[in-house]
């Protein structure tokens, strides 16, 4: 099987963010970056399919400046076979621009399966996978939490609100991966060394004009400080009173 996985380099979310002086970007000083967790699960899904189908090849693609090569190498050290960097000065904000650039590259690859993470925590958009599928004219199943592939067809499960969808689809297809599908394997020491020797091609990204622009970024308003109403079951009457009279939610 030929499998492609699109990955994104994202900052660690466990920090207090600062808005840059230009007001439309986040200050990257001191931020630590790594592969998007959802994309790591997508890479793992591809590798598990490769394990089951010897002779398969997993290609990892990322759009962005040269630093994204670190992210591609991480996927290579997990076991992917080759990487492609679509070089661009910055990762565009408009998901359609990213999808178009990725689709242009993916079209030429003859892939049986194209995997994306369901969403990236920085953009928090979750659109690139589905848009790419549409641009490629391929069937798409988004946010899958279980997957089986056999004989050129696949079955997946999607979590809905209070329900689950069981979906069947033919290959080639695009899938976006949700949490719970698998746990990403840690790169082994040998894998890290081998990754250095695997091919990583750099090509210019074909970027179209964006239709979205950021007018400003701001930090959400601080929640007004709350208070501890009391201790133990004895505090319950006071809490209920406050919920009724002050918060008016009861």
């Amino acid at each position: 099987m030929k499998i492609a996985v699109c990955v994104k380099r994202v900052p660690d979310m466990d920090v207090r963010f600062r808005i840059g002086a230009d007001n439309v970007s986040v200050d990257e000083g001191g931020l630590k970056f790594d592969i998007n967790d959802f994309d790591a699960w997508a890479v793992e899904a591809a590798l598990q399919l490769k394990d089951k189908n010897p002779g398969s090849e997993v290609t990892v693609i990322s759009l962005g400046p040269d630093v994204v090569q670190e992210t591609i190498r991480k996927a290579l050290s997990m076991g992917a076979d080759r990487g492609i960097q679509l070089k661009a000065d910055k990762v565009p904000f408009d998901g359609l621009v990213i999808a178009k650039a990725l689709a242009a590259e993916l079209k030429t690859g003859g892939y049986d399966l194209i995997l994306f993470g369901k969403m990236a925590p920085d953009s928090s958009a979750g659109v690139v996978g589905a848009m790419s599928a549409e641009l490629l004219g391929l069937p798409c199943v988004a946010a899958i939490s279980s997957l089986e592939i056999a004989n050129g067809k696949g079955t997946a499960k999607r979590e809905l609100e209070g329900a689950q969808e069981i979906v069947e689809f033919p290959l080639p297809a695009v899938l976006t991966i949700d949490e719970g599908l698998n746990a990403a394997r840690l790169p082994s020491l040998k894998g890290i060394m081998a990754a250095k020797k695997k091919p990583l091609e750099v090509k210019p990204a074909q970027l179209s004009e964006p239709q979205l622009s950021i007018r400003k970024l701001e930090l959400p308003p601080e929640r007004k400080a709350g208070r501890v109403v009391g201790e133990g079951a004895a505090a319950v009457p006071e809490l209920v009173r406050l919920l009724q009279t002050e918060a008016k939610v009861l």
Binding site: D14, A183, R185, L186, S188, L189, K190, I192, M193
Partner: protein
């Protein structure tokens, strides 16, 4: 009811170093990854060594030498470089200049030069300005974050083709006779029982012609090697525990500040430091010798209490604590350095070898320089195709003839002067040593292993953190970035006869709240551990655990 102890001797309750698991005589796996030179530890010593070696090999190959492809590896237990590195720090740039002669000072990962310095003697309410002792003068030094230094060195190393393996702690040394032939890493994904859980990854075996132990303070494999090969030092190594915080402040700090006195008890060695990293970012902490005299002495609490002193409070009020961390510092100085730091296929560098000068609180430039000397010795050994002890001896010779030995010799009795007597009398002695270049008072002061120093059993003092200026250990550990999984098996070996008094002492000894006393029992929460190693010195022995566990320091 058990008799209450009046005095407690930490060593009586400690387990021995588990040599049988640290020193392996079985051969490595057939699938072992072959390296030529392996640095255990991705701190300043290991990285400087790897960089120096990579450059020497490159230059040699370019000049037509026959070394060919030399695989250099750096093993680091943290998930990413810098995450377990912690220091003050005011750095002497000399090692950077030597390692990177083509770069200028402004290219190095420093925050700002030290200009003004002030030393205070504190009482509970006052701050009395003291003249800065010559040993603490930082003129010409640079304020830096060791995390930033390590990340910067890491980039340089990777650019030179050094293999950096983060998340791979070294668990044991492979040996053949007296020779060290490689390292086994820890497994990951063990369940609390110690059996493989889901996501289990087995240990990796690595062979190396030369292994350089750069494990930092109280290195486990370094201790194991020295004990196994019966290498001694004139005095035992002794340690201080530093607890540090990074604060974002509204008011700027305009000087490097050191304090002595309150809140440290009179018989405690140590003091505090406060450095401006940038206009609104300060690093502050407290450093206290682990030979403290009472079981209730608690270094984390001393730091918290200290912040309420007007000298600190004025700055920190309306600020915010961004990070917290802790680490021990080897303080034995010259006489505590092992008699030899090399063996067949092995060298020991940096803090693991005790190259720290405590009077000036400096260790980073010694660590880097020692790493560079080890690189030189390794390079020569590879060229000669002789990695025996006799061949690697040049490493010790280089260190002995360098400023590392000279500086440490000059200050050789400084810390030890404080071990025996009243702090102020000791201060006078220390002053005398400074002025006379160590000649007076003369002789070697004998020192005691920290664990052999008995402590008075004293009741805990109440400490109520306010969550804004002062913090509980639980809050503090959260701020260290520690996100170790809750069900990790314990890496701590508890010794015999843990009475309630011992348990109580452990709760104060550990800055991260790993130990709690519940009535008569000791409760251990190993996931809280930030690898400071205080426990290894005074309490349950520390052993390597799953890679990526522990703190995630950012700007320490």
């Amino acid at each position: 009811m058990a008799e209450r102890q009046a005095k407690l001797l930490p060593s009586a309750h400690q387990a021995p170093l588990p040599l049988q698991q640290l020193i392996l005589t079985e051969p490595p796996d057939a699938e072992a990854v072959p390296m030529d030179v392996l640095f255990v530890g991705g701190g300043p010593a290991g990285l400087a060594g790897a960089i120096a070696l990579a450059r020497m090999v490159k230059a040699d190959n370019e000049a037509g030498g026959d070394l060919g492809d030399v695989q250099i590896g750096v093993l680091e237990k943290a998930g990413a470089l810098g995450e377990h590195s912690l220091s003050g720090s005011a750095v002497n740039p000399i090692a950077f200049r030597t390692l990177f002669p083509e770069l200028k000072d402004k290219d190095f990962p420093f925050r700002r030069p030290v200009d003004a310095e002030r030393v205070y003697f504190l009482t509970e309410s006052r701050a009395i300005r003291m003249p800065t002792p010559p040993t603490m003068q930082n003129h010409g030094n640079q304020i830096a974050s060791i995390c930033e230094i390590v990340r910067w060195l890491g980039e340089k190393a990777e650019g030179l083709g050094v293999n950096i393996f983060t998340g791979f702690p070294a668990a044991s040394l492979f040996t053949e006779g007296k020779r060290v032939i490689g390292v086994r890493t820890t497994p990951s994904g063990l369940a609390r029982s110690g059996d493989p859980g889901s996501g289990y990854a087995p240990p990796t075996d690595i062979t190396a012609q030369i292994t350089v132990l750069a494990e930092g303070t109280r290195g486990t494999l370094s201790q194991a090697y020295l004990e196994w090969q019966k290498v001694t030092s004139q005095n035992p190594q002794i340690f201080a525990l530093g607890v540090k915080e990074i604060w974002e402040t509204i008011k700027p700090l305009d000087a490097v500040v050191h304090t002595l006195g309150w809140p440290l008890p009179r018989d405690c060695f140590g003091g505090s430091f406060m450095y401006p990293l940038s206009r609104n970012l300060i690093a502050l902490g407290v450093v206290v010798g682990l030979d403290y005299k009472r079981t209730s002495d608690d270094v984390h609490e001393m730091l918290q209490r200290m912040k309420s002193h007007p000298l600190f409070r004025d700055l920190l009020e309306s600020g915010e604590m961004l990070e917290w961390g802790a680490k021990t510092i080897p303080e034995g100085g010259y006489y505590a350095i092992p008699e030899r730091r090399h063996g067949d296929g092995l060298m020991i560098v940096g803090d693991s070898a005790g190259f720290v000068e405590v009077a000036s609180l400096k260790g980073i430039h010694y660590a880097m320089q020692s790493g560079m000397f080890a690189a030189r010795a390794a390079f020569d050994a590879l060229k000669r195709k002789d990695t025996s002890s006799a061949s690697l001896k040049t490493y010790d010779e280089m260190v002995n003839g360098s400023f590392i030995a000279k500086d440490l010799y000059r200050r050789r009795n400084m810390r030890l002067a404080f071990q025996e007597s009243n702090f102020y009398f000791a201060g006078f002695k220390a002053g005398l040593m400074t002025v006379t270049g160590g000649a007076l008072p003369g002789g070697r002061i004998h020192s005691h292993d920290d664990a052999e120093v008995p402590r008075e059993v004293t009741p805990s003092q109440p400490f109520v953190p306010d969550g804004k200026l002062t913090f509980s250990k639980l809050d503090a550990v959260f701020k260290s970035g520690n996100a170790t999984r809750d069900d990790i098996p314990s890496h701590l070996i508890v010794g015999p006869d843990i009475t309630p008094e011992v348990a109580e002492m452990y709760t104060h000894m550990c800055p991260a709240g790993v130990y709690e006393r519940d009535g008569e029992r000791l409760i251990v929460s190993p996931a809280n551990c930030v690898d400071c190693k205080a426990t290894d010195v005074l309490g349950p022995r520390w052993t390597p655990r799953e890679g990526g566990s522990g703190p995630k320091y950012r700007q320490m």
